[in-house]
Amino acid sequence: MTCTLFCSSLYGEHHHLVQSPWFAPVMTLKTSAPLRAEPKKKKKVDPRREQMLRERLKKKLKKLEKVPPELIPIEDFITPTKCLDETRERTAPRLSFEESEGRALLLKEWCRYKQKQHMAEVEAVELALEAQREALEELKLESEELYRAALKPDPLLIPFVHEGPAYTPAIPNYDAPDGKYNDITKVYTQ
């Protein structure tokens, strides 16, 4: 405690003494201005230097701003070189006549099934839209205010997040192992 007080007093004195060039402490080298015989610092150079610095910064900024920003490359769209290796290619398996026929017929069945599904969906959408249109018309006849309120967008909808269905239901009383997630996405800089 006492040594810190002493030090602080020393430093305090030091700070106080350094302010005047005549009373430099004994420990430091005597390098005050009159001893060095240096001319007094001119005030013109400082603003010029600052201006030069600023101009240089501005020039650098302009150069950097001229270059347009680049989009982050998407790794999904770049095929890995392993897949482009020609030695890994294999020929298609030879199928018997019945097998290929069976496959073609299966494809046709699947096409028909999917088309039915699609048509059903399109019809359902059209029905829904038609029903909505009729309802809105009826509402318009009833009251204009309610009609206008019905047409307004819902502010509580956005933002909307929904998780897809899971293949299996959640296991009850599941004890997950301890651990953590680390984000290792590559950060691109220009």
Partner: protein, 212 residues
Amino acid sequence: MNPVFRKVQASVAQQALLLNKALTPCRAAPSIQHPVWCTHSVNERQYKGMPTHGIGRWKYLLPKQAPRKKKDKHQMKRIMSATDTAYGTLNVNVSGYDMTVVEHYSQYIHNFCNRLGIKVADSYALPRKSTEVMLMQEQGTKTYVDAVLKTHHRVVQLSTLNAALCPVFMDVLLKNQPEGVQLSVTEHTEADFQARFKARPELEGLIAQMNQ
């Protein structure tokens, strides 16, 4: 020889001129009986007067395109704001671990919007995010790398969405959502657009220095 040639040329030219003046009414339909050569002089080009002149021209019918600069600055498309009857620019973000499923779902959404007449402003992919799953070891406190999960994102940007069309749209989307795929509908902001670009630490450092 030369003065003779000149005289012959002059006489031919004179004859041609006379014939021109006589035959101007019938110049429009030159037939085999009145061959075309009689209606032109040495200095006059014939094919510009033909009725089939300019028959192959088609470039004047195309809309005028501004000359494309080599350095195409990625301009942000205008962000529409919500009106009385419609939402503003919406981002439908589809994300999941399985890339094919995510891509097919985003394509389905795009097709559906085209069918319903909803304007699709942009359809792009965001860079994938890799997450390392670290599990604790059974004996000891060290964690080891168990797996690397890559999350893929696809965005379908809609310029406007009619508020009356919205419930039907969302219903169909939710009905067709495949498993393991998260659907998120948010408003498009400029920050979202800027996040697609590479970070420029030098530029930001310089700007910070300038403002100091």
